[in-house]
Amino acid sequence: MANESTLIHDEAATPESLADPAWIRIRDLIYQVSGIYQAENKFYLLVGRATRRMKVVGARTPREYLDCLTSRPNRDAEMRNLLNEITIGETCLFRSMPQIEALRRVIIPAVAEAKKKLSFTKLRFWSAGCSTGEESYTLAMLLMEETQGALKGWTFDVVATDLNDRSVAKAQEGVYNDYAVRNVPPEFMRKYFQKVGTEYRVTDDVKSHITFSRLNMLDDSKMLFMRGLDVIFCCNVLIYFDGKSKARTVQHFFNALLPNGYFFLGHSESLYGISEKFHLVHFPGATAYWKPAEGAAKAGTR
């Protein structure tokens, strides 16, 4: 699941190659299998990356490649390879500003207000499938800012888990290159990183809020122990699960969240067909799955 943060050179997609109707079918198939949707204005990305796979498998046309994904014996493996291509390079710190803004401006204040009424002053976030730690550190830095500002006196921790031991070890190091920190706002760079040679190391202060560990999300006995969370991020991981495992894992996430908690997927990822308990809610430029409190008011908006 670890995505290397390297600069991706996409194959150039010409207008003619984009027009092939087989791409629409490939796009729809990806959506059905993984919940990842490539809008037409991002089509060049899909085409560029699928073209790389086409070269590997020797498909000459999108139609032939569609056959590789639907009717050849190794179609599942090829779909996995394609999903890998599509999500590659998606890991960096401060990856999705609309998600971060939704957290800062709407979610954290709302969750804190509800908890305060119950005399709780601690927040708990989980980065599930944390890969090499970029998301976990982003969350910890955001929460540090909040607890130094509007939420003075509050504490928090971030739980970060991944299946891959090497990813967990790399995450614990917390050392990143220029490309991985390209979206980090300058004030965060100053406060939370130390430059080491050509790389950037996350400060120990930030690290002290995060617990990294190995976890297999398909291991029910382990998942049952995850409880009391306010926000869970699980980006581009469930796309690799089959329908049944996905539904079971999502149920675990639902149980792990406190009422009023939020579950985030990757920015173009959705819980296609398995979100009956969660409410899909919208924020400017971002969506999340919300676990409403029992008897939550269904107030309308204008």
Binding site: N41, K42, V106, A110, V281, H282, F283, G285, W290
Partner: protein, 297 residues
């Protein structure tokens, strides 16, 4: 809004002769919209386009833009209309004719933001209407396009106060109608209603303009109000809003408008909201092209 307050506002608008005039080509266009797209007479559309030199030039320019990938350049109005297709030409005609509703120096709202939002809502309304088998997607399009037209009346009638209201809304990151009520005592929904009546727009479009922020009793306005209300919210959540961040959470399936449409249209249950949301980002490009074409002319 109370009838007497509305009457006072109406007489004020008429008194100072600030009511924007209906664009010349709008009526014939509306007649074209009254029929199914396959029955629309292409010659009539070409005629309407040719009527205004700047619109004709825009059509040709847009048909020759990279978006349409023509093998040879379109150099006649007919060629351009054929290449763009009926819908795009109508989108262009509408947005162009409406962009001249008030003089260029009277705009208080940013015209690019205003038209991007209006066209975005129009396109989303049409798509939404098609998805749920609402019988008249073109009317939904028009209602979406015109839903904020009252802002143009505000620009004419109370320019300075409206400027302050826009600034307040952006500064406090609150919905515009909330800021209007606080500073003006009326909203663009009220002035939009007055304009829609003066322009003799169909009653349900006038209702959609008046009620798109106040959908308290969905039965009053019917499905068109709900469609515009939801499309407006969707656009504001997908970068086609008023140009400032609105910190809020929207639970669409529990919105009164959504619940109302769900009772009236069985196809609502089949909507994949996540996918619909992602697909909205495709409109941003289309809307951007259209607005760029209109403003380049």
């Amino acid at each position: 809004m109370k009838t007497e307050t509305l009457d006072r506002l109406r007489s004020k608008i008429v008194q100072i002769d600030a009511m924007p005039a209906i664009p010349v080509i709008l009526r014939p266009l509306l007649r074209c919209l009254d029929q199914p797209v396959e029955d629309v007479d292409m010659n009539r559309i070409v005629e309407l386009v040719s009527y205004d030199k700047s619109i004709a030039a825009q059509c040709i320019r847009m048909a020759n833009s990279a978006l349409f990938m023509r093998s040879s350049p379109a150099d006649t109005v007919r060629g351009a209309v054929m290449s763009l297709g009926m819908w795009r030409v109508r989108d262009l005609l509408f947005s162009n004719s409406l962009s001249h509703v008030i003089p260029a120096d009277r705009w208080v709202v940013d015209p690019v933001i205003f038209w991007k939002h209006s066209l975005g809502v129009a396109l989303v309304c049409r798509k939404f209407a098609e998805m749920i088998d609402y019988p008249d997607p073109e009317k939904a399009y028009l209602a979406g396009l015109l839903h904020d037209i009252g802002m143009l009346v505000n620009c004419m009638v109370v320019p300075e106060e409206f400027r302050a209201t826009l600034e307040k809304a952006a500064r406090e990151q609150i919905p515009l109608d909330e800021a209007e009520l606080a500073t003006l005592g009326f909203t663009h929904c009220d002035t939009g209603r007055i304009l829609a009546e003066a322009w003799k727009m169909p009653a349900d479009i006038a209702d959609a303009i008046e009620l798109h922020h106040q959908i308290g009793d969905p039965d009053r306005g019917g499905p068109l109000v709900a469609l515009v209300h939801l499309s407006d919210l969707l656009c504001r959540m997908r970068d086609l809003g008023y140009g400032y961040y609105e910190p809020r959470q929207i639970d669409f399936p529990n919105e009164p408008g959504w619940l109302y449409l769900s009772m009236k249209f069985p196809a609502m249950s089949g909507i994949d909201l996540a996918r619909f949301t992602f697909a909205l980002d495709e409109y941003a490009r289309e809307v951007g092209d259209l607005v760029a074409t209109v403003f380049a002319g």
